[in-house]
């Protein structure tokens, strides 16, 4: 059933994301074409760059908004009448939403980055761009004597964990808001703020405890060494993962045991 849920979730959201990606691809194609034909623009380059940056920000923002709105409407809103009477387990419903959200987020990131790279190529700027990236990368690897493979793996894992974390936090806030009899949307916002601050406090506490035990006191930043920083990254990652699981379980509990579609 999980596969079917994911299939329909993609079908539902494809109608929004594919045209959106189409616009980005079209925009990129036009710019590349203008560069190739060496056509002087009526507009200044500045306006185009601004439009482009806004488009990237807009795409990512829209990805988040659409995905959050989908969860609300589809599980806690009007379409919940259909979804919550299907013979599927609540965790499957939530997982299908999460998996689709993370996939579309990756899609949006890849499409905007590709668009940027293609334009850099068409302007002959890619070499510079790539050299800068390589410089940054090498300095990183050299400084911490890390292995590139591990770094890439870790970055990918971090993006997935953080993306899950961000979506699950919003899902959880909406589920908590759903526990109230009225003003559920306001309650969801308040819940989100509450969760945010709680997590901040926990993070800082974890960091301090770690610093006190392993870093020789609170002035750890001044004597930070490689292993110490590496561990902080790892601890943050594990902590984020655990909190994300917590959000997942809480959302599942509410949808399973406290659903009240009015």
């Amino acid at each position: 059933m999980l596969g079917k849920l994911i299939k329909y979730e993609f079908k539902s959201t494809m109608r929004i994301f594919l045209p959106l990606y189409g616009v980005i691809i079209g925009f990129t194609a036009i710019r590349v074409l203008l560069d190739l034909l060496n056509i002087k623009m009526i507009f200044s380059d500045g306006i185009l760059v601004t439009t482009y940056v806004l488009m990237i920000i807009g795409t990512l923002a829209l990805t988040f908004i659409v995905r959050i709105q989908r969860f609300y409407k589809n599980i806690l809103g009007a379409e919940g009448y259909l979804m919550n009477t299907l013979p599927v387990k609540p965790w499957e419903l939530i997982f299908s939403k999460l998996a689709t959200s993370v996939t579309w987020l990756f899609g949006s990131i890849i499409i905007t980055l590709s668009s940027l790279l293609i334009q850099l190529v068409s302007r002959g700027l890619l070499k510079d761009f790539w050299e800068n990236i390589a410089l940054l990368w090498n300095s990183f690897i050299l400084q911490y004597s890390w292995n590139s493979g591990i770094v890439i793996g870790k970055i990918a894992m971090m993006i997935i964990i953080y993306a899950c974390y961000v979506f699950l936090m919003v899902y959880c806030a909406m589920a908590i808001g759903h526990l109230f009899n009225s003003n559920r949307i306001i309650a969801s916002f308040v819940a989100y703020i509450g969760l945010y601050f709680t997590v901040q406090v926990i993070s800082v506490m974890v960091l301090f405890i770690y610093a006190l035990i392993f870093g020789g006191g609170l002035n750890f930043l001044s004597q930070a060494n490689e292993a110490f920083v590496l561990n902080i990254v790892n601890i943050q990652l594990i902590e984020t993962g655990i909190i994300a699981i917590g959000y997942y379980l809480a959302t599942n509990y509410i949808v399973k045991k406290r659903l009240n579609l009015e």
């Binding site: 539902s12 009007a78 379409e79 009448y81 259909l82 919550n84 009477t85 013979p87 009899n181 579609l261």
Partner: protein, 232 residues
């Protein structure tokens, strides 16, 4: 007789307002039961509790001996009083959707009913009138071979001719193993198809019994009885 739906001391409030507070009820197989009451009497709350869309504050609901959950959703076919299908889908998409998720969905039956009502499989739900959408929903719900059908205002938004068709559909599609619960305030229209009735008001069961007994013993139609009981 085999009990399909069993209710025990069911309570549900919205904030301070008690929406439902009923004692023990049993629904035996092969019956069409009318859940009848004025607006806001708790009919929809009852249906939503049994379908699992609401969580009870107290009490117990069992369908086929199982507490509400995934297992009961497999055997319960629920028609809400609102549009609950995805607007972006075409008729054929919702058919595929039901076929994908419900093992007991009879696609042939659904297609033949849609054909009889002249509903285009390629038409999107978005472009349908309210009445047509309701017909599509009812056809989907009645095309399942379920143990329990929960129909919330199935005839509320359609014209009298369509009402007759819908009621005929309900009678001809439910089987002797199943229970059909019809929640409505349009009693005159449904009374001929009902075996049993439950009058509900202010969240409580006011009166219940067999439709035939009321007719024979008191010489009254359920419609008349309703008007007496709920006199304003």
């Amino acid at each position: 007789m085999e009990t399909v739906l069993e209710i025990k001391n069911l309570k549900k409030s919205y904030g301070k307002k008690t929406a439902l507070n009923i004692g023990d009820l049993e629904f035996e197989k092969g019956k069409i039961v009318g859940l009848l009451g004025p607006n806001g009497s708790g009919k929809t709350t009852f249906i939503k509790l049994v379908s699992g869309l609401l969580t009870a504050d107290a009490g117990d609901i069992k369908v086929g001996g199982i507490s509400i959950g995934v297992e009961t959703k497999r055997i319960v076919s629920y028609l809400p009083d609102t549009n609950y299908l995805f607007d972006w889908m075409k008729t054929k998409d919702v058919i595929a959707f039901f076929k994908d998720f419900y093992k007991d969905f009879d696609e042939k039956l659904a297609l033949s009913m849609l054909d009889k009502l002249g509903i285009d499989l390629k038409q999107s739900l978005k472009s349908m009138s309210k009445g047509t959408k309701e017909k599509v929903q009812l056809i989907l719900v009645m095309s399942r071979r379920a143990k329990l059908y929960l129909l919330d205002e199935p005839i509320g938004g359609v014209d009298p001719a369509a009402r007759d068709y819908i009621l005929k559909t309900i009678i001809s599609n439910y089987n002797e193993e199943a229970v059909v619960i019809i929640a409505t305030h349009l009693i005159g229209d449904v009374e001929n198809v009902l075996d049993d009735f439950i009058f509900i008001d202010d969240g409580k069961v006011v009166l219940s019994g067999s439709v035939d007994e009321i007719r024979e013993e008191e010489g009254k139609s359920i419609d008349n009885l309703f008007r007496e009981v709920f006199k304003c």
